[in-house]
Symmetry: C2
Subunit: 347 residues, 2 copies
């Protein structure tokens, strides 16, 4: 009875099989328009569809409806352990909502980012999750112009003109410096992340204000600026700090990558972490608890960030023109073994 479906059954096929017009079949198969068709015929059509193993051609549908049920997620580099959990969060949620996820890495290259953006809009993604925003990002205007829903994660833009989900960077670093203060540290250094990104910027200023608020203000000598969030840059900056005449007894790093570079730096300087210098990171990337030494750091809810972002995004694509929403999640200090009370002798 079954006839061999070449390719697969088309809407017209089920229509003729059910003895109705393709238009009617379309309505019957589509949830929202199903009420327009007599329930009896609906059943006949559904049966025929089932029988023929009808699968709607998503390309044709997307072409007609201009909705692809796909969203892009663009990040700097999936190799950065910070991102996999976030990606996972958005992918999980999005898939459950019937969306498919296009992944792209910018590698921090503006040209490549632009090409990625173009590729995404050309493919008519329904929305985007971006983890690559600069504090001022002109390319984002492209999407605004196209009317494509966006939600930023982790980093945000300066003028809150897009929905976003991130964590409170300044309370995060405050927790870090307070922790260090409580351990008796006074000369606290900072290897700051790139100031072109909101994370690097906010954490730097958070460091400054926390220091000022907790006794002795920061020594300008003791902050170095990394060009990027990499361990190489972290090492470079940290060695610079350690070479000062009066080196810091503790360093708060702009993120975990920089922190890793910092511990390398103290080792290469013939010192030990944490005995000689304490280090605290930011992000609590996977596996930093197993590093040597296990890293004290401020934890951010990676997965939740992704998941919340996905939720916001589906909301945005469903009822277009939704309000712009910015959610800020709370960080949490997790103390491990890279920080130590400063010995009474050296105090």
């Amino acid at each position: 009875m079954d006839k061999m479906p070449k390719g697969s059954a088309t809407l017209r096929d089920v229509a003729t099989a059910a003895g109705v017009h393709p238009g009617t079949a379309s309505r019957a198969l589509n949830e929202e328009t199903r009420s327009l068709v007599r329930s009896e015929t609906v059943e006949r059509i559904l049966f025929a569809a089932e029988q023929l193993g009808y699968k709607p051609n998503l390309l044709a549908r997307s072409f007609k409806t201009r909705r692809t049920n796909s969203v892009g997620i663009v990040i700097p580099d999936i190799n950065n352990p910070l991102f996999p959990p976030m990606v996972r969060g958005v992918e999980d949620r999005l898939f459950d909502s019937g969306f498919v996820t296009l992944l792209a890495n910018t590698e921090g290259d503006p040209d490549r980012q632009r090409k990625i953006f173009e590729s995404m809009v050309d493919r008519r993604v329904d929305g985007l999750v971006l983890a690559t925003a600069s504090r001022k990002d002109d390319d984002l205007a492209m999407f605004a112009a196209e009317g494509i829903p966006i939600v930023l994660i982790n980093r945000v833009v300066e003028d809150a003109t897009f929905s976003s989900v991130s964590v409170d960077d300044v309370v995060g670093v405050r927790m870090a410096v307070d922790h260090l203060r409580n351990l008796g540290h006074v000369r606290i250094g900072h290897v700051a992340g790139p100031q072109s990104m909101s994370t690097g910027h906010a954490r730097y200023h958070g460091f400054l204000s926390s220091m000022a608020a907790s006794g002795a203000p920061a020594d300008p000598e003791l902050v170095a600026f990394a060009e990027q969030f990499s361990v190489a840059e972290g090492e470079r900056c940290a060695t610079a700090l350690l070479e000062k005449k009066r080196r810091p007894s503790a360093i708060v790093a702009g993120n975990d990558m920089l922190a890793l570079g910092a511990v390398s730096a103290v080792e290469h300087a013939g010192l030990r972490c944490p005995e000689d210098v304490s280090i605290v990171g930011f992000n609590d990337m996977p596996f930093v608890d197993r590093l040597h030494p296990p890293l004290t750091t401020v934890r951010i809810p990676h997965y939740s960030i992704g998941a919340r972002a996905a939720d916001l995004l589906v909301e945005l694509v469903r009822d277009q023109r939704g309000p712009l929403r910015v959610v800020v999640l709370a960080p949490e200090l997790v103390v491990r073994q890279s920080t130590l009370r400063v010995p009474a002798a050296t105090r």
Copy 2:
């Protein structure tokens, strides 16, 4: 002069602007058919296209040509540090070839995997890169049936019925056991990965044969089988091994995750790695060099695996019915600090 493009200029628009028929414009714009139209008119059309900022509607094109220039990459879990570099490899190459990458995580759940597969074929991806194959995987038949090009990475299926790129698991473990032998170890245990996967299977048998070939065959007491490649399972299996009356002085783990679990196990047993028991992993995941202790492991070229897979795949989608190709890359032992010569006393 410019007229405001609502949405964007269509092919018809540039055709009328250039005073030609849409069909002609199509040919002129398309690289391969361009030779069919007089170069003079080509130029006119190109100019008009440029002028109007014409961007072809990829949805319409895909709908017509049945090619989406998209490929799916499905992996167990992007959180496993093994995969980001591979994903990166395929994404890089694919993007350069004009493809976009759909990412999906199966989480090892067959139901979810099936849904992902369906989603992918429904979206008419041009090809797939799969890192989730079981040794016998029936779901893969779905793609074979649909005629969708596939290349397997890392894991392969038993009957080499798909193109794949992987590493030589048995020479990998042989390097591991030879290394251990050279350090004087004789009681060498193995926490084996899941036997349903080619990696777990091949490494286990590689362990057996290498042991036999290098002196004393493996003691069946000293191998435990993990249900999955996780640190929890690694810890469970390793503690089981350590509880034997005559515990092993070294353990080769099915992969780095299991190895991490194993070092936890020796620590929880009140022993030390590597002083009391040496451990060697497999994969050389990112950051295992910074772990405590830095892990001796056999390195596989993650990025290259992804990149080669991508190359194979574009080759497959370009000239359909290409030959099935299986490439096997060479592993490499990297010795760090989780392995140590067994002290003469205990030898």
